[in-house]
Amino acid sequence: MFKKIINGLTAQKDEQRKADLYRKLLRHEAKIGGEVFGPVRPGGRREFFCLDEHTWVWHEEWVDENGQHQYVTTRYDVRPGGIVKSQNGLYKPVGDQETMNLLHAAEQYRKRVKDELYSFVA
């Protein structure tokens, strides 16, 4: 019984560690992904990452000309019939050129995280 509890706690801890590690890897991927699109505006921040098999996320923050902090989170949902995006909660269609830009960005992202992250830790 006691052994069972210990094993259970160990398994939970192991799962928690894996989940933590997964999140850290994702954060690092997002940072690398943010560099795929070139320089970020002064005072801004950008993240681009693959959340899961069907979702890519682009988050951008900047300070506008009035000194106000602005942000846009774009979530691309990859569906069998096409790609749609939601920006700050509003769904919008994705044009052909934007679709191809997303694909190219994702390919660069894949290459960069492989070279700059997983080649070191694998």
Binding site: K24, H28, K31, E53, V78, Q97, T99, L102, L103
Partner: protein, 157 residues
């Protein structure tokens, strides 16, 4: 999920250094991430293929406008229309690509707008006068042009 480097205290070097103690768990986590990335790119490529084809078709149409069947159909229709006496269309036949043809077609539709409603209902009535028949034919040609350019637009031009 919005990642916050400051809030989460995340530093790349720190993260890399922290990976060590997880030992055998690393391969499993990395393997999972690899599968997610590969699957995601596969899905993305598959979903983007129609868009790629439309862009490629548009690029070809732009580079080789005279080879486009839609362009040829539109040009032929405009030339026929011009022969019917529509002086406003005589320069259309020299349009260099579909974008111009479409603009011309839009102008033509505007030009013919006053006669369109009546003739659309009975375009082939034998009681029409020569002038009306010519106008009906012109209207049909304009519709042909319109359909051609719509198809071209559907291809992503």
């Amino acid at each position: 999920m919005i990642l916050d480097q400051e809030r989460d205290g995340f530093q790349p070097a720190k993260a890399l250094s922290e990976i060590g103690p997880f030992g055998g768990g690393i391969s499993e986590v990395l393997g999972t991430r690899d599968i997610v990335l590969d699957s995601s790119l596969f899905e993305l490529r598959k979903s983007a293929e129609p868009a790629r084809q439309r862009l490629e078709a548009a690029r070809r149409a732009k580079e080789q406008p005279n080879d486009s069947p839609h362009y040829a159909a539109a040009t032929a229709a405009i030339e026929r229309h011009a022969r019917l006496g529509g002086s406003a269309y005589t320069t259309v036949a020299t349009a260099e690509h579909l974008g111009e043809a479409r603009q011309m077609e839009a102008d033509a539709r505007q030009f013919d707008a006053p006669i369109a409603p009546e003739l659309q209902t009975q375009p082939t009535e034998p009681v029409l006068s020569d002038t009306e028949r010519k106008a009906a034919e012109a209207l049909q040609l304009i519709d042909d042009i319109h359909n051609s350019t719509d198809e071209q637009y559907a291809l992503g031009a």
